[in-house]
């Protein structure tokens, strides 16, 4: 059975006022070619199909066209909801997408009510897919537990995920290809930086130990950096996003996962790069250098340009944009570092009044406030607070 794992399309994402949809469309076009050419049996899409709960129509059209194309080519698809997807909406279009063999799972479900999907490849091989869409913190941990203690709540969250995994993967069969799909943050995974915080803090994560050892493959979504989770007991991958979504991902090669699996055999896994996304670049050059390389840079992708300057140039923005055109996303400059200490930012948040006074004294009198003085200050403060208005 030949399986492809993709994730985190974020269709309809606006990034610094740039519409990334045309790139995604190209990516999907190429992915569709691959799927048709290789006669892929099963496509796993592990969440964040769209970037927002109400995506633009063009984004919906691109995604649905892709599904229609591969569905007609005989490839089955399983889609789970990510934290960006609206579960209700996913459920809604999922009912129609069934017509082109797309199964959607919008929210965590019991195994016998859609949480575990069984499907058959062209060759007749069977696959069992345990699907865990994104679960809100509040689905697994009560508000009061969050309020009481972060550590307990964190454990509860991880424990909740572990139990869901356990319940669903109990349906795995020895005569099938067994797959787990989930949209979650996993302890120890490396973030790309463009992910939206899923919970009230990134410490809300499932642990790799809660993943099953019985799966041929575990396909995860949410993290944009493609990576294998080494700590997991089965082959576990984040497919990552098909596009470099922010400057934190410069240089990352975005790829999808191709899995060849047979019942009772370990799966063979390889990564195939996506084609069609524009790369992001961090360019650090002087104006003359920029001028020299303008031709090349114009078509290199999306650029963040930082220009080292000897002194401020009020016209810099215009000059750079004139040279490089629409490829420029951001223009900034660097001045030689000054060491006059003007940036001695005193952090006075949370300081007691007397400490503030000591700071003041140091600044005002260039000497330390001595003990009798600070004691007197504290006395006064107490008197003033207790005394009448």
């Amino acid at each position: 059975m030949l399986i492809v794992h993709t994730s985190d399309w974020h269709a309809g994402r606006l990034w610094k006022a740039i519409d990334r949809l045309p790139e995604l469309e190209t990516v999907l076009e190429n992915l569709g070619d691959f799927i048709e050419h290789e006669r892929v049996d099963l496509l796993l899409m592990s969440g964040d199909v769209f970037d927002t709960r109400g995506p633009p129509a063009a984004a919906e059209r691109a995604v649905f066209r892709f599904f229609r194309r591969i569905g007609r080519a005989g490839t089955k698809t399983v889609v789970i909801a990510g934290n960006h997807d609206d579960p209700l909406r996913l459920e809604a279009w999922g009912t129609l997408a069934e017509l082109v063999d797309v199964t959607t799972v919008a929210r965590p479900r019991p195994a016998d009510r859609g949480g575990v999907i069984e499907c058959q490849a062209r060759s007749g091989e069977r696959a069992v897919i345990a699907a865990i869409p994104f679960a809100k913190t509040s689905d697994l941990v009560s508000a009061s537990e969050i309020a009481v203690d972060d550590t307990t709540a964190h454990q509860r969250y991880a424990e909740g995920m572990r139990r869901i995994v356990e319940l669903l993967t109990a349906r795995f069969r020895t005569d099938s290809v067994n797959i787990l799909m989930a949209h979650t943050h996993l302890d120890g995974a490396t973030l790309a930086g463009s992910e939206r915080q899923v919970h009230l803090g990134e410490e809300w994560a499932a642990t790799p130990q809660s993943l099953p050892s019985t799966a041929h493959y575990v396909g995860l979504g949410h993290i944009h950096r493609p990576q294998q989770v080494q700590a997991a007991p089965s082959p576990t991958h984040y497919a990552g996003s098909p596009l470099q979504l922010d400057f934190g991902e410069i240089g990352e090669e975005k790829s999808f996962v191709v899995i060849r699996a047979e019942a009772g055999q370990p799966a063979r896994i390889e990564r195939v790069p996506y084609a069609g996304g524009k790369p992001l670049h961090e360019v650090r050059m002087t104006l003359p250098e920029l001028e020299q390389q303008a031709e090349r840079l114009r078509d290199a992708g999306w650029l963040r340009v930082t220009v080292p300057l000897a002194e401020r140039d009020l016209d810099l923005n215009r000059k750079v944009r004139h040279l490089l055109g629409g490829a420029v996303v951001s223009v900034d400059y660097e001045l030689p570092e000054r060491t006059d200490g003007s940036e001695t930012s005193l952090s006075r948040s949370g300081l007691a009044p007397v400490e503030l006074f000591q700071l003041y004294y140091r600044t005002q009198h260039q000497s330390e406030a001595e003990a009798p003085l600070t004691a007197a200050f504290n006395d006064l403060l107490r008197t003033a607070e207790e005394g009448p208005e």
Binding site: G12, L14, W15, K16, A17, D51, T52, R53, G54, T137, S138, S142, A143, A147, R196, Q197, L200, G201, D246, V307, D313, L316, N317, V320, V329, S330, V331, D332, Y333, S345, L346, S347, R348, S349, G350, L351, A352, P353, L356, F357, L359, Y360, Y361, T363, Q364, P372, L373, A376, F377, L380, L381, T383, A384, E385, G387, E389
Partner: protein
């Protein structure tokens, strides 16, 4: 300020019955709902409850009252630190409103604090720690005012900050410091005066003078002490000698007393001697007495035994009698046993009898049942035979009836198949009739129209003739007129002459106008011509109309002709089709049925079919009847056979029952005969039981009596033995008693007494003996000791006995020296006290001087503090720092939100730095809506967090953000939502008002507001 509970009545869109909102479990939440549902109104209500005004409506409560209501009321519970408060406000359309501030006790009891609008306004500002302006900019960020802090004037910002930071407490501190500085100045003065006045003489020099004086006194005391010690020693010697002298006198007196008691002591000694001699005799006397008592007791016992022996003899005789009787009874046992055995045999035979009787009864009952059922079966069998005969008759009738019916099945089939054709022919005939009728109607219409056409043509011909005649008349009259004109040419010419014009005939100018000539014929002709022309025109018009009518009628006739032709064609076609179909059908049934060529074939077929159908129906009915009858016969035959079988079986069973009854009766009779041979008793079992009991009883009694007799014999023998034994014992004991008595007597004589009675008299008790011997011993001892002490004392004194008077002299001398010494020591103590006081005074003086120094220090300390706490120093520094940090913190937040903008400030004005556009500086006023929102949010969040952290400042326990989200593009909205979602809540309440579902769904809880029929409704949707 942390909201706990809000209750609204007739507040703006919250019309009608009170709406309640419990903030209790909420931390980070959205207030969600469609635009205009009343989300912002909730904030208005909170602000109004606290301050009596709202940013949207100002201090005009009437504007907040719901339409159609006269008064509104708002109750708001909130918490500041640990204390809970309740503020209630009522406003009316007319007349003054009122307000009440209460403090809520832990048990929810409310204790009023202030009443009246103004008082409550002030009290709330004090309790919350924020003025209305500060509150609406730091706690509630309301619609439209959201960016006020960002864009307001530096001074306004300064004021807000200083209120939030509670800078007035530093002002208060300054005042206290300044007051303290004054107090210390006064204290210093006072201290200086006191030291100068009170501690001038307390010097070390004065102290040293006193010390020298004290040393002199000390040596004087030493000398006196030595002398006094010597005198004391002498006096003590004299005291000892005097004591010994007195003792010696006492001892001598005591010795005299002891010597006079000597006689009595000797008497005691002789009495003790007698007692000691008699002591060995005493046990012998006691032994003799015991032996005598023993002898008496033995005699008594012997008498008792003799009596007992006699009694037992009688008992034994009685037992022997009873045994004999029992033995006789036992001799009858074998006879009884024999009888029992015989009965046992009978009882054995009897055992099966009750079962047999029961079986007999049962068999009889069964026989009765079998007879009854046999009878029943026989009746049924007869009935079945009759039924069978009936059924056979019925079947024959049905067969006959079926055979009687003639039904041509093949014909029916053919007709049935032809039915479709029949109905088609009916339709065709109908169509043919219809089209024929149509043709007829069309022909009739054509006839009418042709008549009309002919009529119109005739009329046209008449009109033509008329017109030709009129035309001819006109021509004739015209000719006549021309002739007449010719005749009357001169008259005509004359009519045209004008004076001065040339004459048309002679060309000479007409000199004067001749009078017109009369032309009566011409005039008449002209009139006739006009009439004729009129008649001609009229005729012509009539002719035209007639011709047109004729043409129309002709066209109508032609059209009708076409219709007729069409109808005729259709009619013919229909007739042809009908004929064809009829013929085909006729051919199909030809030879099967007789056809009447006069009648329609389909009707004839239909009639035939109906007849056949009826026959077929009848035949079906007859067949069904026959089958039913056939079935009846078969079931009756079956029934009869069954019953015959049953009859045979029942007969057989009855015979079996008879046999069984005979057998059982015989068995029972045999058993009864056997019993009668053995016993006449009604119940042999009971008889046997009785016999058995009698036999067992005799046996048991015999055994009992044997045992009783043996026991009596044994007891008798035992007592006889004991009687002999006791006689011997009596004799032995008497001898022993005699011997003991003589031994006692001998011993008493040997001890020096007359007889044993005297020896017994000399006995004294051991207590008495002890007392007397102690008395004797004590006396001897004391005499010896006193004698020895007297001799010792005489030796010690050695002749120097001292009298009382001699001692008194020495005592007096010692006492005098003692008094002198005491006086000297008192003087010394006085001097020491003076030295001590002086030393203390010196120390105190020193202390006061140190104190003075300290007070001087404090004074300068508070003076400098008062200076530093001035508003232009420490307070200004704080504001500056706060602002600086606010900007840098907000800058970080803004960067996190946008990854594009940072804050900067110059001259207390905000700027936004655009890092995507070469750090373009943009004033806050030029930002777009979305950017302004994000910048304000960053600033507000930072402000709120900073204030939260700042020690000593008003605690902002809650933050409400209203709107601004509607203006955001998706990217900015995502940024804002992420920022809010990840707010460090930390016990603070954060409420976001938004009508955007995407945002509200991302928060853990929601207050849903919707517009109901009555007014706005609130619904809390927790996480």
């Amino acid at each position: 300020m942390k909201p706990l509970r809000l209750r609204l009545e007739n507040f703006a869109s919250y019309r009608g019955p009170a709406a309640e909102l419990d903030f209790g479990p909420l931390e980070l939440f959205a207030i969600a709902g469609p635009t205009g549902a009343g989300k912002s109104t909730l904030l208005d209500a909170i602000i109004f409850a606290l301050y009596g005004a709202t940013p949207r409506l100002g201090p005009h409560p009437a504007g907040m009252i719901s339409l159609g209501a006269d008064r509104l009321s708002v109750t708001f519970d909130f918490q500041v630190q640990a204390q809970r408060y309740r503020v209630t406000r009522v406003a009316r359309r007319r007349g003054a409103g009122n307000a009440l501030l209460e403090q809520l006790e832990p048990d929810d009891d409310a204790r009023p604090l202030n009443e009246g609008v103004r008082e409550v306004n002030e009290a709330v500002a004090r309790v919350v720690g924020l003025s209305y302006d500060a509150f609406t900019q730091a706690v509630v960020l309301p619609q439209g005012d959201f960016q006020k802090f960002l864009k307001s004037e530096p001074r306004g910002r300064r004021e807000i900050l200083s209120k939030i930071l509670r800078l007035e407490i530093y002002e208060r501190m300054r005042r206290v410091a300044s007051g303290k500085s004054d107090i210390f100045a006064q204290a210093v003065q006072e201290q200086e005066r006191r030291i100068a006045e009170d501690y001038a003489e307390a010097t070390p020099e004065a102290l040293s003078g006193l010390t020298t004086e004290a040393d002199g006194l000390s040596s004087q005391i030493k000398e006196l002490s030595e002398r006094y010690a010597a005198a004391e020693a002498r006096r003590d010697q004299m005291r000892v000698a005097r004591e010994k002298t007195r003792e010696l006198d006492q001892r001598r007196a005591r010795l005299g007393q002891l010597q006079s008691a000597e006689l009595q002591i000797r008497l005691y000694e002789s009495r003790l001697g007698a007692a000691r001699r008699g002591a060995p005799v005493l046990p012998l006397i006691r032994t003799a007495k015991t032996a005598e008592a023993n002898a008496a007791r033995a005699n008594q016992e012997h008498e008792g035994l003799l009596k007992r022996h006699e009694q037992l003899g009688a008992d034994h005789q009685e037992a022997q009698g009873r045994l004999k009787q029992a033995t006789e009874e036992a001799a009858k046992i074998p006879a009884l046993d024999e009888r029992i055995a015989a009965l046992d045999q009978v009882i054995g035979r009897m055992q099966p009898r009750p079962t047999l009787v029961l079986q007999l009864t049962e068999a009889k009952k069964q026989k009765l049942g079998a007879e009854a059922s046999l009878k029943e079966t026989r009746t049924a069998s007869e009935k079945a035979e009759k039924a069978l005969t009936g059924a056979r008759l019925e079947l024959r009738d049905a067969d006959n009836a079926f055979a009687a019916i003639k039904f041509d099945g093949a014909l029916f089939e053919t007709l049935d198949a032809a039915r479709e054709d029949t109905s088609r022919i009916t339709n065709l005939r109908h169509a043919a009739l219809t089209s024929a009728a149509e043709l007829q109607a069309a022909a009739a219409r054509l006839h009418v129209k042709e008549a009309a056409r002919d009529r119109e043509n005739a009329a046209a011909d008449v009109a033509t003739t008329e017109w030709e005649r009129a035309s001819h008349l006109t021509l004739t009259v015209d000719q006549e007129l021309a002739d007449a004109r010719h005749r009357d040419a001169a008259a005509l010419l004359r009519r045209q002459l004008r004076t001065g014009d040339p004459c048309p005939v002679c060309e000479h100018p007409v000199a004067d106008h001749p009078p017109p000539l009369p032309t009566p014929a011409l005039d008449a002709l002209e009139k006739r011509l006009e009439q004729a022309r009129g008649a001609e025109v009229k005729a012509r018009r009539l002719l035209d109309a007639a011709r047109s009518a004729a043409t129309t009628a002709g066209a109508a006739a032609i059209a009708e002709q076409q219709t007729v032709a069409g109808a005729s064609q259709r009619s013919e076609a229909a007739a042809a089709e009908l004929a064809q179909a009829s013929e085909a059908l006729t051919n199909r049934v030809r030879g099967l049925i007789a056809l009447d060529p006069e009648r329609n074939i389909e009707e004839q077929l239909r009639d035939h079919y109906q007849v056949l159908s009826a026959e077929r129906q009848r035949q079906e009915t007859a067949r069904a009847k026959r089958e039913k009858a056939d079935q009846g016969v078969r079931s009756a035959e079956q029934n009869e056979a069954n019953l015959k079988n049953a009859l045979a079986t029942a007969d057989h069973q009855l015979a079996q029952h008879d046999e069984k009854i005979t057998d059982l009766t015989r068995q029972i009779a045999e058993i009864d005969e056997a019993i009668r041979k053995v016993t006449q008793a009604a119940d042999p079992s009971a008889e046997r039981m009785d016999l058995r009991r009698r036999r067992d009883n005799a046996d048991k009694v015999l055994q009992q009596q044997q045992v009783a007799e043996a026991n009596a014999a044994r007891e008798l023998a035992s007592v006889a033995g004991r009687v002999a034994e006791s006689g011997e014992t009596c004799q032995r004991v008497a001898t022993e008693a005699q011997r003991a008595r003589s031994e006692a007597h001998d011993a008493a004589v040997a001890a020096g007494f007359a007889d044993e009675a005297e020896a017994a008299q000399a006995e004294i008790t051991s207590t008495e003996e002890q007392r007397i011997s102690v008395q004797v011993e004590t006396h001897r001892d004391e005499s010896r000791r006193v004698q020895a002490r007297v001799e010792e004392l005489i030796g010690e004194l050695n002749g120097t006995e001292v009298a009382e008077d001699a001692l008194a002299g020495f005592e007096t001398a010692a006492a005098q020296l003692r008094a002198e010494l005491s006086a000297a020591e008192r003087s010394k103590a006085e001097l020491s006290t003076r030295i001590e006081i002086l030393t203390k005074d010196i120390d105190r003086g020193n202390e006061l001087r140190a104190d003075l120094a300290r007070q001087r220090l404090e004074h300068s300390l508070y003076r400098s503090l008062a200076l530093d706490l001035r508003s232009d120093r420490f307070q200004a520094f704080l504001l500056d720092e706060t602002f600086r940090e606010l900007v840098s913190g907000a800058s970080v937040r803004l960067w996190d939100l946008t990854k594009r903008y940072r804050f900067d400030w110059q001259n207390e004005a905000f700027f936004v730095v655009d890092h995507d556009n070469a750090r373009q500086l943009r004033s806050a006023d030029t930002l777009s809506g979305g950017e302004t929102f994000l910048a304000s949010l960053a600033l507000a969040l930072q402000l709120s967090e900073q204030v939260q952290k700042a020690a000593g400042a008003t605690k902002l326990d809650s933050l409400f953000i209203d709107e601004g989200f509607g203006t955001l593009d998706p990217e900015a909205l995502d940024a804002a939502a992420s920022a809010i979602e990840s707010l460090p809540v930390g016990g603070r309440m954060v409420g976001i008002i938004s009508h955007i579902e995407e945002l509200s769904l991302r928060l853990p809880a929601r207050i849903r507001v919707k517009k109901g029929t009555e007014g706005s409704e609130i619904n809390v949707e927790a996480a």
